[in-house]
Assembly symmetry: C2
Homo-oligomer: 353 residues x 2
DNA sequence: CTGAAAGCGCTAACAT
DNA sequence: ATGTTAGCGCTTTCAG
């Protein structure tokens, strides 16, 4: 309505306070450069009355570093990632940073485009769950832009200056130990094909866990679905996979007494099919999931699951990344997140032979 | 290793191509300003060989508009919101925009801080699921920054220049009609307290739906939990709420034959408790959820649910918002997303009377 | 302690 | 068709 004057710049504040823009900047940007109390007060009150808000674009251009970080992952609608992003964003907010969210949908092209775009926006760091097969272009990009890249869910040392390690291998080993202590001797693994890093780690944990307990390894106890479709509808695929593998599992001889599933969704598909086949969980088969998703407690019976703490991981890694950015140094550390077995009612102790 | 020259600016390209920065800008920024084919070619090849990438900060500052949009919502880990964000981000990417994600955790203070921060970053628009009680400051902010605000999940016309309407009221009415046509005459509603807009709409839909079918309204068929805790652990709360209300529901006389739940999580809690009480779904009680979350098909029996299409909503609203931004006009439209009843196995036809 | 001036990288008048 | 110049809003030498 009123003749719309645009928002105030630092010059307007300076003028109103009767000082130079430089002095105004020094107090308004929280610099430790000495300014007289008098001037400081006048500047602050001018800023207040003009409702001054810095234009972050100006700041960023001047310093050539964005106050955002990027997070690139396959799909935010995956609960694991949305928890992780929530953690990362919470940390970012605390440190005055924003979070640019990027969904690759597991497309290598999209992943690279995002990376490039983030570089063009001069972000100082990015948390990346990569699907790239050829990492050379990514590395080059990261180098020429001094982009800090933190790998997630994987370790590709050539491109990731740092990584967050979920130690899922240890988590699975612990779960096997737990089953062993509850009398289980025939333990199966149920997964989609172990092509990505995470699943490979789970598999290693499974095999090493058996070994650590002195249990024999049987190839037919590793149940992998034949195909894989990860794009949209990922959850549904995982669920169907659990159902499919249920049948294979029931045909095994001798039948396992316990099974570890690659995630809670798969476990829930398994349990549903088992119910249809009138096989009771946990009476006839014990089940352990991975992720401890919010719905782990919603299935019947409530699911014992290996928690990976994605929120915590996201929080820690974002905080460390942003510290590196603001302190203007490289970020090469490693964030360790310990897995934790959350015990509910899907595992039953059995008599040892 | 090599003496690290910084990344190339448009000046470097111009110099290498033997033209002025202005000309270089004209071709590199895709302007339609006429440039000779010769010069254009030289500029392009210079850019190529120098690996030139525009510094978006420069562009943004110059034009004083960011190439990002903001999305402010309570909690990305809520599957409804993460689907919506996925849709919004997909649209943004298509249009060359980025997405700044903000989680308010239902804190009014955080909401305002985010809004302010986005303004300082000169974003042209924001998708907002607001929890604010006092909207005056938000309105003021939006005005002085010409920020386009799109309301979600609510209609607060004073602050939202536009809104996306999920028509959940109609969705619930359709569900009631569906139950009616399957012979149900005693239909209950199960919800947490109807304080926020969405739940109020569901309640209206429930009451109007009954009326439209000529069914009597009974106050005791509206089951609202007493308390509410929405911060973290929201999902768990909803689940427990479903369990709690199951008991209340079973005590009703005459007992309803069908119930509509405020969301799938609540429905799943209800079903779990019902199972513990040996009340069969759908034989003794039919259940309809809201959201059609990915796990609706995972509960037993698979849940009939009212789908809200958050992905589509997010996609459409972000696309429209960004169009408004790039065309430099206000955005006052309304996005309509039609609900859809997804039929599975949690509703059973019954003999009338 | 303060201010003038330069410049981050880009684009858009306004010449030519 | 091209180049010169100015300036977006901010910070930061550098001189006073």
């Amino acid at each position: 309505m009123n003749a719309k004057k645009d928002r105030a710049t630092i010059h307007d504040v300076a003028k109103k306070a009767g000082v130079s823009p430089a002095t105004a900047s020094r107090v308004l940007s929280g610099s430790d450069y000495p300014v007289s109390e008098n001037a400081r007060k006048r500047i602050l009150s001018a800023a207040e009355s003009l409702q001054y808000r810095p234009n972050l674009l100006g700041q960023m251009l001047k310093s050539s570093t964005s106050r955002d970080i990027g997070v690139i992952l396959p799909n935010i609608s995956n609960p694991f990632y949305s928890e992780l992003v929530l953690g990362a964003e919470t940390a970012a907010k605390q440190k005055g940073f924003g979070l640019l969210l990027c969904n690759t949908l597991r497309s290598e092209l999209r992943e690279y485009e995002y990376l490039e775009n983030l570089c063009q926006k001069q972000v100082g760091g990015v948390i990346l769950s990569s699907v790239a097969s050829d990492i050379a272009p990514i590395k080059k990009l990261a180098d020429t832009y001094r982009l800090r890249v933190v790998g997630l869910d994987q370790s590709i040392p050539e491109i990731t200056h740092a990584k967050v390690d979920f130690h899922i291998r240890k988590g699975v080993m612990d779960a096997i130990r737990y089953l062993y202590e509850n009398g289980h001797r025939r333990i199966a693994l149920l997964s989609s094909p172990p092509r990505i890093f995470f699943r490979k780690e789970v598999r290693k944990g499974y095999e090493e866990g058996l070994q650590a307990c002195g249990l024999p390894y049987r190839e037919d106890y590793e149940l992998f679905s034949a195909t894989e479709r990860e794009l949209s509808g990922g959850e549904i695929y995982e669920f169907e996979n659990g159902k499919l593998c249920a049948d294979k599992l029931l045909a095994l001889d001798p039948r396992p007494t316990a099974v570890i599933c690659i995630n809670d969704i798969t476990a829930s598909g398994l349990i549903q099919r088992l119910g249809e086949r009138n096989v009771s969980v946990p009476d006839e088969l014990s089940v352990i999931g991975i992720d401890n998703s919010f719905f782990a407690r919603m299935v019947s019976p409530p699911l014992t699951s290996i928690e990976q703490s994605p929120f915590e991981a996201g929080f820690l890694v974002a905080a460390a990344l942003i510290d590196a950015i603001t302190e203007n140094r490289a970020f090469t550390g490693r964030i360790d997140v310990e897995p934790r077995l959350v015990i509910r009612n899907s595992v039953k102790p059995i008599r040892t032979l």
